[in-house]
Symmetry: D3
Subunit: 245 residues, 6 copies
Amino acid sequence: MAKQIIQVINPNTSQAMTETIAQAARAVVSPASEILAVSPSAGVASIEGHFDEAIAAVGVLEQIKAGREQGVCGHVIACFGDPGLLAARELARGPVVGIAEAAMHMASMVATRFSIVTTLPRTLIIARHLLRQYGFEHQCAALHAIDLPVLALEDGYGLARQKVREYCIQSKRQDGIGAVVLGCGGMATLARELTLELGIPIVDGVGAAVKMVESLLALGLTTSKHGDLAWPVAKSLSGPFSALN
Amino acid sequence: MAKQIIQVINPNTSQAMTETIAQAARAVVSPASEILAVSPSAGVASIEGHFDEAIAAVGVLEQIKAGREQGVCGHVIACFGDPGLLAARELARGPVVGIAEAAMHMASMVATRFSIVTTLPRTLIIARHLLRQYGFEHQCAALHAIDLPVLALEDGYGLARQKVREYCIQSKRQDGIGAVVLGCGGMATLARELTLELGIPIVDGVGAAVKMVESLLALGLTTSKHGDLAWPVAKSLSGPFSALN
Amino acid sequence: MAKQIIQVINPNTSQAMTETIAQAARAVVSPASEILAVSPSAGVASIEGHFDEAIAAVGVLEQIKAGREQGVCGHVIACFGDPGLLAARELARGPVVGIAEAAMHMASMVATRFSIVTTLPRTLIIARHLLRQYGFEHQCAALHAIDLPVLALEDGYGLARQKVREYCIQSKRQDGIGAVVLGCGGMATLARELTLELGIPIVDGVGAAVKMVESLLALGLTTSKHGDLAWPVAKSLSGPFSALN
Amino acid sequence: MAKQIIQVINPNTSQAMTETIAQAARAVVSPASEILAVSPSAGVASIEGHFDEAIAAVGVLEQIKAGREQGVCGHVIACFGDPGLLAARELARGPVVGIAEAAMHMASMVATRFSIVTTLPRTLIIARHLLRQYGFEHQCAALHAIDLPVLALEDGYGLARQKVREYCIQSKRQDGIGAVVLGCGGMATLARELTLELGIPIVDGVGAAVKMVESLLALGLTTSKHGDLAWPVAKSLSGPFSALN
Amino acid sequence: MAKQIIQVINPNTSQAMTETIAQAARAVVSPASEILAVSPSAGVASIEGHFDEAIAAVGVLEQIKAGREQGVCGHVIACFGDPGLLAARELARGPVVGIAEAAMHMASMVATRFSIVTTLPRTLIIARHLLRQYGFEHQCAALHAIDLPVLALEDGYGLARQKVREYCIQSKRQDGIGAVVLGCGGMATLARELTLELGIPIVDGVGAAVKMVESLLALGLTTSKHGDLAWPVAKSLSGPFSALN
Amino acid sequence: MAKQIIQVINPNTSQAMTETIAQAARAVVSPASEILAVSPSAGVASIEGHFDEAIAAVGVLEQIKAGREQGVCGHVIACFGDPGLLAARELARGPVVGIAEAAMHMASMVATRFSIVTTLPRTLIIARHLLRQYGFEHQCAALHAIDLPVLALEDGYGLARQKVREYCIQSKRQDGIGAVVLGCGGMATLARELTLELGIPIVDGVGAAVKMVESLLALGLTTSKHGDLAWPVAKSLSGPFSALN
């Protein structure tokens, strides 16, 4: 039987990160599904602020459209800010899940409170806004930034990965939490080993989102086309956006 | 390979409802898992208020302990009030998911706002409290009660099931929502047909919780034993509770 | 004239703690009332988590029923997690007040913000959830745990009591608060001496709840039997719960 | 033994309303206490908006000071907007309780949700702000105004009192609540008869506040003078305020 | 003296709407300032959902950059969803104000509660999310949609404008509010006449945002470049986004 | 053309502070407006708590009435607690803006989060309550008190002003914020120099409120007289308040 395809969209253009994300997705996908890891044809090499997110959102939409046309069954937006999430839901037929929301939902089911460890301090505000938007504010005890850029997670030196580990250890010791959410798609492959080492759930959103999409598909649930997330009102898109028509 | 067992606990003592719940769980479980549907050895025949919930919680704990000793991998609490959820997490090794939380989490990923349709008006307050506790208050547009007792869903006449359908239709038309959450384990088998008929996601928590447990297991995540949900502090349980020692 | 009886339920089975609670209740009760201090026939010796609370809730219900049959006028649930509170209200004719809610309400009337001092760190989450449920989140500045088990308050060595005192002093100095809420029924007899020593209100929930019940009775107010807290829907309780029929 | 005096301050200058309030207070006060009902020497005849409240607050302070000098043990502010409450606490030695807060606290202990019935629509905003400030927003299902001025409650015709009754009946039928809070000191004497007639708690804040003050006194708790509610910083008050020096 | 230029960005590509917006902006700008009304070189002709917003956000950024290079002093984003607002702030030297936030801020200063009248029902969710994000949820009494597309406001028939008027009238009568916020940049020129006709503040965000930008400039305040809104981290933008480098 | 007069009310009776406030207001007012700086004929010399605020509110109302009779176009209440704000709006024809709200609104438009620096610790609670009332709680990262009385800002020694500067520097370094709100009218003239020195927006409410009033006037918006803020219900004011008739 043909496998159902789950499209995992890395919203930035870094191939190394797309690989990391694909690897994390494939590590958890069920035998009935297949991961299609993609990234936008153009955009930013990493996402470290609202400006980067706004650019990346268009790339996400381009990929959602492409995925839909290729017949993928569901979509994951693999950047911790969930860029373009609601727009993507308007454009998609299948379910669309962001890695931030997936990680937060999952964390809230294995612990009463969690902390978040992310990259640059300036991305903390994005996590804060999502916590408020999704309703998890009261379940997040603390937010930490390792103060290294996103791509340091892929630089081969391992410093960033070491700092993630240190912040998780410190968070376990000091924050009064039961789980840690990793706040960047580039940290995805760290979750399992840190979970084992620290003995508490270290939650990666990439895996969480893949399983969430598979779950929704198994339940016969998909993005509601009634109301707020209905197909975009048809209108002519001009210029560089014409590919989205 | 031996399948992993997911224990689905009907917190009330109605065998008909245990069957309904088992059927809904088996309809969505993946090939790698097996459903073990159980109910407490003693308690209440249906759960329609806080008193019933308090009784049922002890039955849930009894079953969690039994399941743990039998080597089940995860647990579902299949009553919309999620009775005994945090207590069960203390007692369990694997993940424990309630059907109310699972349904709310899932609904929030396919629609911006949802409504809830439940049984007796007096159970609405339980749903309200869970919305607040879980952080979904701002995503729930309305709560409706069909004003029939829980067991009417199993009485063979179909009136209760017909009223659920009517409230879902009305909710779609009037509430400005994109999805409806079914607020009782006994409604579980209705979700798929109503989703097809109404063309919007009608979310059943039993299936949602089964997939959530499977997802957590696939991710290597389980109830955190660090902090708030650590094993209960050892102490001698007397009288009818001694079975929980 | 016969005195009205106020039943003070210690939800755990520790006789020493029942005595402590009874003493605190009798110290404040008005001449028109009499305290009947009781504890469940079976259950846990102390309450230090959600599991313990779930067990204790059944014992609370057993005592509520017994109290109602004996003609008591109102009930106090004397454990800081207010275990079984809403279930107890369904089962009771008279008013039922938990010591956590009573203490929080009282503290909010003598100070703009308060702190809580409790026993084990794992019970902090219970206080957090109650603050949210009752609406006092924004009035609680900090939560502290002395990191000793509940029964250390009764062990005759006084270490636990000394630590409560130290945390109250530190809270006064550092938290920017005007009052401290004692987060355990076993601390009840400390309130008055600490209030005098520290010169700020140190609020014990046992006394607060007794006065709240007396107040409701004097006002002719009792648990509403209209709607959410109506009598439990009649159903046969099986096994060890049959005493609750 | 000399009785402890509880000062009940009607913040407006209507003698009829002071009488109504005094009557409600005396109906519930315990034998150990005595009610001293007072009203400001100058101000507004009724309080129906923020302007009236600002004026009344000064009268409340004048009376708090007078009461303190007379040795009263505690104070009630008997207007549903709780005008000048925090200022009064700064000025008082004993506890100060407002009737809105007292009624809301009490209602939250006998029902899961309540409605409010008040006088003019423009006073609803005052109740809304207090609900938010005190943390009861999620426990208030609806607010109703009878659309008659405050003094209509004292006019001898009974129309206003009849409308209060009708709104309470309608609220019971439609709001999904278990209790009603009367939103004006002038409605105080209605509570007991409506409670009996309707069979649900109809909560009057005057009685509630008197009992709350008595409770605080019995517990040895009084307004915290540490921090936010410390004595006003000494400074010379000029003009008409010099009486407050 | 050279006037300071305030750039008013219509995020959609409709020239008619740019004109309407420019007109509203010019009607209120002070003599010291000059309005530069612009729209993106490519994008969508109207903004009626999250997808449209994501596209429009890139056009907003393109114009922010162009404006900055031309030396404009401040920027207005003239679409009620405030698309790209935080991204624009990262990219801008001067202040950036969205019309939704400006209108909500202004409305909250002339009334205790307001309603919103917007175009299509599907855009209500965008307003809801902004209310939550900005903190005005408790000050918004109701949201209404005239159920006509954005461009109907410019079609010359006047039906849409008539429906806006009707909804404002109805909102004044029924919502218990003191002001109405117009939820679309295309309604900007209606505000003044409706304010006069209805006798309550009808708040247009375009004018409000222009004055807010002028105010910030006069106060010497501009977007903070310390922390969350610092310049975007330098990185190479590829493809159609290279113009944003 | 005659200039429009904006009345800036210093709610305390300190002439030095009225001068400071007037200076800050005049520094930002537009050529079309003129500042009329006033203070109450009687009251308190500085406002450092709820008691002081209650007194000052009456002085504010006296000045609002005087201003209205003199034909001023709008009013600023220049004390950070916004004393008497809603009462003043009932009494005013033109817009009335408090400096706390103005500063918070402005700060939220130039930074995602801000801190507040105020005078005595006991005034922090007033700022906290306003943050909650206005909806800015989640945008305020920290509150700091320099622990010197209000009038130290005017004592000529400069210690208080130096401490404000130090707290702003520390807040920039530690709070994770982008802007600081000055929490006292007496700090108004510090804002511009600190903004320049620190390179982040240091927001003074006096200037902010003046610009907000000018903005509202330019937009043709004034306090809604429909509903909650309608003229006070006519009633005879007795004694020292008769001047307010």
